[in-house]
Amino acid sequence: MDITTQNPTSPPASRPSEVEQKRAARAATRPGDRVFLALSRGSGVFLLVLMAAIAGFLTYRSALALSENEANFFTTFEWNPTGNPPEFGIAVLAFGTVVSSIIAMAIAVPVAVGIALFITHYAPRRLAGPIAYVIDLLAAVPSIVYGLWGVLFLVPHMQGLYGWLDDYLGWTGIFEWQGGAPRSLFTAGVVLAIMILPIITNVSREVFRQVPQMHEEAALALGATRWEVIRMAVLPYGRSGVISASMLGLGRALGETMAVAMVLSPAFTINASLLDWGGGTFAQNIAAKFSEASVMGRDALIASGLVLFVITLLVNGTARMIVARRKEFSGANA
C-alpha cells in the first residue's frame, strides 16, 4: 500500500497508517522479548537442574559407599574402603583442605589487595598496565605447571624458611619442624596462595577502579593523605567486592587438585605442626586414588567429594551473609 499516491496530503484519521499498523502488530507479539525471556529463563533453570543433578549423583553414589562403611565417616583417620571390614573417614582430608586453604588465603588476600591498590592508586600509568598484564598472565598458567614449579623449585628452597619458622615460632607448636623434606600442608598452602593471587587481584582491581572520583575527592578535600583516602573511601567501598574476590580464590584453593597432589607428601594423619609431613586434601586424595580404585573405592571417594561440595556451599553462603549484613552501608545506594 502506498499512502502518498492514494492520499497525497494526509491519511484519513479513521484509518491507522502503515507504521501504526506495523507497530500494533509488533506490540502484540514482541518476538525479541519472547525469545530473550525464554533464553534467560532457560539458562537459569538449566543451572539449577545441573546443580541438582550433580548433588543427586554425589548423594546417590555416596550413600552406596556409606552404607558399607564400618567406621565413623567424619572422625576416622583412615582410608581403607576395600578392607574387610571397609573403613574410611574424611577427618584428615577436611582438616588438610581447610588448613591449606586458610594458609593460602592468609598469604594471598593481603598481597592481592596490595597489588590491586598499587595498580589503581599508586603506580604511574605506564607501570600499572604491564603489572596488570603480568597478573592476567599468571591466571592463565595451568595448575600442573604451578605443581611442577612447586615440587622442583619451591620445595628445595623452602628449607631456609622452615628453619627460620622453627627457630622463632617453633614454640607455638604450629611451626615446629622435624627436619623432613618440606612437602607439608604449609608448602601446599604457599603454592595455592600463588595460584589464587591473580583472580583475587583482578577482581579487587576492578572494584577499586570503580570507586567514584567524588568520594576520593571528598576525602582529599578533608586533608586526607593518599593512604587515608584509601582507608576512608576506597577500602570501605570495595569491601564487599574484595570479599567476593576472596571467595572466588577460596573456591579455587579448596578444589585445587594437581598442584597439591604434586607438592604434598600425603599421609592419613593430622599433625599439630603445619611443617611436618602428612595430611591431604579432598581433591588431592581423589586424584591420587581414583584411577586404581575399585567400585567401592570410587564410591567412597565420591562421598568425600560430596563433603567438599557441601563445604564450598557453606563458605559461599557465609560470604554472602557477611556482604548482606552491611548492605545499607555498601555504597550501592549512593
Partner: protein, 258 residues
C-alpha cells in the same frame, strides 16, 4: 579562624593547556565571594587552586602565589594535605561517604586530625550538624547511612563535615546545582550564617544566587574556546549587578550571552 586570601599572578594548567591566566584578587575574611561566568571560563579550576585540589587532576599544575593569611600555599615545603585541612571544600554533587553513618561522616575529618575522646567527638558532631542546620532532621538517625538522606540534606551533611574541622576558608563549587529550590534556599540561608565564622568562596551558575548570598562578585570569562579563562572584574556584588565597569560583565548578567 577566617583568614584573608591574596592571589597574585596565578596560572593553572592541564598538561600544556593553560586553563586560567594571570589571576590576581583579594578576598576579605568573613565575607562571601561569588565567582560567576560562562561554562569553561575556569572559575571552578580557580576555586580548586585555592586548596590545592587542582593538582589532584592528572597533569594539573599551578604557577603564581596564593597567600592565606601570611602563608604562601604554593611556597616551598608546604604540604598540600595540610593546606586542605585549613581550606575546606563542598562539591557540586553531594558526596557523603556512602559506607559511613551520618555521625561518622561528620567525624571523618576530625579523625584525620588527631585523637578525640568520644565525648569531644559527640560535642563537635552535634555542633557541626547544628551549624549546618541539619541537627533536628538527623539527631535520631545518626547511625543510619549518610547516603540515605535526601539530596539537600546530604549537601548540608557535607557542609557539616567540612566545618567540623574548623577550616579558615570554605570553598563551595556550585553547591546547589543538584538541588531543588527549597533545599537551595536552606543552603543559601546557611551560607549567610556561616560567613560570621568563615571566609566563603562560592562558584555558581545562578546569578540570582550570587546576588542573594555574596558580598563581592568576580566575573570570569574566556575569549574563545581553547583560550585561557581570565578574571574580567571583581567588585561589590551590588555594583556588579547594577553598574559594572566592564561591558562584557553587563552583557553576561543581562543575559546577552553565556
Amino acid at each position: 579562624m577566617a583568614k584573608r586570601i591574596d592571589v597574585s599572578g596565578l596560572n593553572a594548567y592541564y598538561g600544556s593547556f593553560l586553563a586560567i591566566e594571570d589571576i590576581s584578587m583579594s578576598i576579605e575574611p568573613r565575607t562571601v565571594t561569588a565567582f560567576i561566568g560562562p561554562s569553561g571560563c575556569g572559575k571552578s579550576t580557580f576555586l580548586r587552586t585555592l586548596n590545592r585540589m587542582h593538582e589532584v587532576t592528572p597533569g594539573g599544575r599551578v604557577e603564581g602565589k596564593v597567600m592565606l593569611g601570611d602563608e604562601n600555599l604554593y611556597g616551598a615545603g608546604i604540604d598540600p594535605v595540610s593546606v586542605r585541612r585549613e581550606v575546606g571544600m563542598v562539591f557540586q554533587r553531594p558526596n557523603p561517604f556512602p559506607t559511613m553513618s551520618v555521625y561518622d561522616n561528620v567525624a571523618a575529618g576530625l579523625k584525620l586530625n588527631g585523637n578525640f575522646k568520644k565525648s569531644e567527638l559527640d560535642d563537635i558532631v552535634e555542633r557541626s550538624l547544628k551549624g549546618a542546620n541539619l541537627w533536628n532532621e538527623v539527631k535520631d538517625r545518626l547511625n543510619k547511612p549518610g547516603s540515605g538522606l535526601s539530596g539537600g540534606q546530604q549537601q548540608r551533611l557535607c557542609i557539616a563535615r567540612a566545618i567540623a574541622v574548623e577550616p579558615n576558608v570554605l570553598l563551595m563549587d556550585e553547591p546547589c546545582s543538584a538541588l531543588d529550590p527549597i533545599s537551595t534556599l536552606a543552603i543559601e540561608d546557611l551560607i549567610g550564617e556561616l560567613k560570621e565564622r568563615f571566609t566563603i568562596v562560592i562558584v555558581t551558575h545562578n546569578m540570582q544566587q550570587a546576588a542573594r548570598v555574596s558580598d563581592r562578585t568576580a566575573f570570569f570569562n574566556l575569549a574563545a574556546v581553547g583560550q585561557p579563562g581570565k578574571l574580567i572584574e571583581m567588585d561589590e556584588t551590588e555594583r556588579i549587578f547594577s553598574n559594572p565597569s566592564v561591558q562584557a560583565t553587563e552583557d553576561y548578567i543581562s543575559g546577552r550571552f553565556g
